[in-house]
Symmetry: C2
Subunit: 193 residues, 2 copies
């Protein structure tokens, strides 16, 4: 489906819609955001947003997926020495969240999850099916350990980027990696330290 | 200031206001809650709420403090063998959050923090001044380690009680303690595992 005339191509349009969606979700949460408002902010028609994403649920899920790409997580853990997998995962997440866009996306997710049961259900489904199943399969760790590791990473993002508790908020990535990496490793390396 | 006639005593009134505040904050977040609404729900005058708590900020902080009593945390860590402090802390938090009231209070905090900068600032101040300073002083661990440990506990609450990711959401307390306790211990025991 090539772009026609002055209209931007589908890839750029899709990216523009996701960018607008992320901004709206961050500002208004899941319940307060409409397809119409996202379309308006992106400069496209609501029909086009529906065409790309089906509905608000899938739009939210797509917008949400970017700062938490399950394939990237698994690839990061698997590639390289197993005993440094914890450090690699922590480094990956710190980098993923370090851009303003990603931090905004994370905040949007947190706000929606804390505000609507539906968003919590969506995130739960996403985490269970897309993230934890892959980590568990790829690494042979227990599902509970994979979930507890995720909990640590989520908590890091909450305190570092949302609540911004010091010294965690301002610590350089590598200082956090050096501290938290070996702790996360305990969940990946086949049991607690 | 004894209770007069049919009016309940100040302690019970104060508790009723906090209960009402917790319910309102959970339902409407920090920004959407007024002293007037809390007073109405508690069956008292707005003036009385102001008398007890000064303003909405302090009311929020007081309501928020209950599921995270810094003195209890420090006492739990200090009392008993140091090498099991991680397990004791995790067990304490799992128990604290296991009541519906505490889970509601945690959700209210999360929602407010994700919604208003002011609430994030309040929680940051509370964590830095009331919680982390005490833990750091009492245990001689680094401030960054105490913050990272808090991040893990916060993340556990988010995934267990808010997003309710399985198997973490339904796992018995002691199963979580056995898995997460030794990991948290790494932050308390003088360095990573």
């Amino acid at each position: 489906m090539p772009g026609s005339g002055r209209r931007p191509g589908p890839t750029r349009t899709r990216a523009a819609v996701l960018r607008a969606a992320r901004a709206r979700f961050a500002e208004h949460g899941f319940a307060g955001t409409t397809i119409r408002a996202v379309a308006e902010a992106a400069g496209v028609t609501p029909a086009l947003v529906h065409h790309f994403f089906g509905g608000k649920d899938r739009l939210f899920a797509e917008a949400m997926r970017l700062p938490l790409d399950p394939e990237a997580v698994v690839a990061t853990v698997v590639q390289g020495p197993r005993e440094q997998a914890g450090e690699r995962v922590v480094r990956l997440f710190l980098r993923l969240w370090s851009t303003p866009e990603a931090a905004q996306a994370f905040l949007a997710v947190l706000r929606s999850v804390a505000t609507t049961e539906r968003a919590a259900t969506m995130l739960r489904d996403f985490l269970e099916e897309a993230v934890l199943a892959r980590v568990t399969d790829a690494l042979g760790v227990s599902r509970l350990a994979a979930t507890a590791m995720s909990a640590h990473l989520v908590g890091l993002a909450v305190l570092r980027h949302v609540v911004r508790v010091e010294p965690l908020a301002s610590a350089p990535d590598e200082e956090v990696v050096a501290l938290v990496g070996p702790v996360v490793q305990a969940y990946l390396g086949g049991g607690p330290p």
